[in-house]
């Protein structure tokens, strides 16, 4: 039964084919982000003022879709979850990295992926952010010898929510679906509040 996906891991196709597929998926990803208005820094910034929570809804849609797909494909024996790459966790460095990322996102209005989308449609702020991103990568690379001890600290390996919470994967899936739907409802409520200035909201002042 086992041994369908991930196709690359099981040698169904080679490095070259996988790169071609990656390019096609990347183009599709960018196209759909643009269709969702994610190349627009003004729209993305709305998230930080609780006026437009598209990013939150998009992220949760993607998470829930991928999560349910992986879970049920694995359950059906079409996918070997143990062969799906899980990024490693480094608690302290990732908190610091997350804060830096957040500052950049709130300041520029775009995240790395959406800045590429914005640049592809010719938006100058997107180009500026890509230049900033590359500069940041360069500075990080040059500074790495000085911070590598910190970068490797508080390592937890490939750490997943079921492991951390001691729950079954199915239970975590159920909880996350509930959280996502709750977040959708909350986001829509916030957006409706923001659309009716007759009832001013303190947070969006």
């Amino acid at each position: 039964m086992m041994g369908g996906a991930p196709f690359y891991e099981f040698g169904r196709f080679g490095e070259g084919t996988s790169l071609v597929i990656a390019v096609l998926l990347g183009i599709a990803f960018g196209w759909f982000l643009e269709q969702g208005g994610m190349g627009n820094a003004r729209k993305l910034s709305g998230q930080f003022y609780f006026t437009d929570l598209s990013v939150l809804k998009l992220m949760f849609s993607a998470i829930v879709t991928a999560m349910l797909g992986l879970f049920w494909l694995s359950w059906a024996g079409l996918l070997d979850l143990s062969r799906v790459y899980v990024p490693e966790t480094f608690i302290a460095p990732q908190i610091v990295g997350g804060l830096v990322f957040g500052v950049g996102f709130a300041t520029g209005g775009l995240c790395p992926g959406t800045s590429c989308v914005a640049a592809a449609t010719g938006r100058k702020d997107g180009l500026a952010l890509i230049a900033g991103m590359l500069a940041g990568v360069f500075v990080f690379g040059e500074a790495f010898p000085a911070i590598d001890r910190f970068a490797d600290s508080t390592a937890r390996g490939a750490w997943t929510l079921p492991q951390a919470l001691g729950l079954s994967q199915g239970t975590v899936v159920g909880i996350l679906v509930a959280v996502a739907l709750g977040a959708f409802a909350g986001a829509e409520w916030l957006e409706r509040r923001a659309e009716h200035p007759a009832r001013p909201m303190k947070l969006a002042a």
């Binding site: 086992m2 099981f10 879970f71 694995s74 079954s168 994967q169 679906v177 959708f184």
Partner: protein
């Protein structure tokens, strides 16, 4: 925005229902993990074992670690307490049972070791069965590491360049190389030439104690 004309409330509701159903059923299904089944090409494995391509020597492993070989994963499959006593730098402790189900990286090079070589060889087979191709084990186990890397005894007749390279590697790991007469170097039983097929636990303990005393 909520007032986007392109929105289709019907589809949104259907997707929400689908997510709820998928989520609730997932809680009931519990874990998607099926028994992990692997398959092996028996002829291929036999060929690898025959050609002795299934293991690394302690010296090779030491060079890999020192030279930071990309995506090298050294797995120690001994007990927790033994790992705490002493382990090869860069090694992670992974129980044998965990090897059967842990997430794997097909691009990584896995090197397994145990006290002797048996458990590591069994772990090697498990990883091969799970489809990994770059898998090796330390044939003489930790004992070989202690003997060849931490406390190598090199004959005085060994060429100078070779001696220096061994010394540098040993020092890198905090060990100590001893130069001995060519006669006693060859008579020292080595786990590699098969004279000492089953290293005794006490030998490993004793060697670890010696290394500790040197306070490295």
């Amino acid at each position: 925005m909520t007032t986007d004309a392109r929105r289709r409330p019907g589809i949104e509701r259907a997707l929400a229902v689908l997510a709820i159903v998928g989520g609730v059923l997932a809680v009931i299904a519990g874990s998607p993990a099926r028994p992990t089944r692997g398959s092996v090409d028996v002829t291929e494995l036999a060929r690898i074992v025959e050609h002795e391509e299934d293991h690394v020597t302690a010296m090779e492993l030491a060079r890999w670690i020192r030279d930071d070989r990309p995506r090298l994963r050294v797995l120690d499959i001994r007990a927790d307490s033994e790992f705490a006593d002493f382990h090869i730098p860069a090694a992670t402790r992974v129980p044998l049972a965990e090897i059967a189900r842990m997430p794997l990286d097909s691009a990584a090079t896995y090197v397994l070791y145990s006290e002797g070589g048996t458990h590591a060889a069994q772990g090697w087979f498990l990883l091969r069965a799970r489809g990994m191709t770059h898998v090796f084990f330390l044939r003489g186990g930790l004992y070989e590491w202690l003997e060849q890397v931490m406390n190598p005894r090199v004959a005085s007749t060994t060429p100078r360049a070779q001696r220096d390279s061994i010394r540098a590697l040993t020092l890198w790991f905090g060990g100590k190389m001893t130069v001995v007469d060519s006669a006693s170097a060859t008579t020292t039983p080595s786990v590699l030439d098969g004279e000492l097929s089953a290293p005794h636990k006490s030998d490993t303990r004793e060697t670890i104690r010696k290394i500790r005393r040197r306070a490295c």
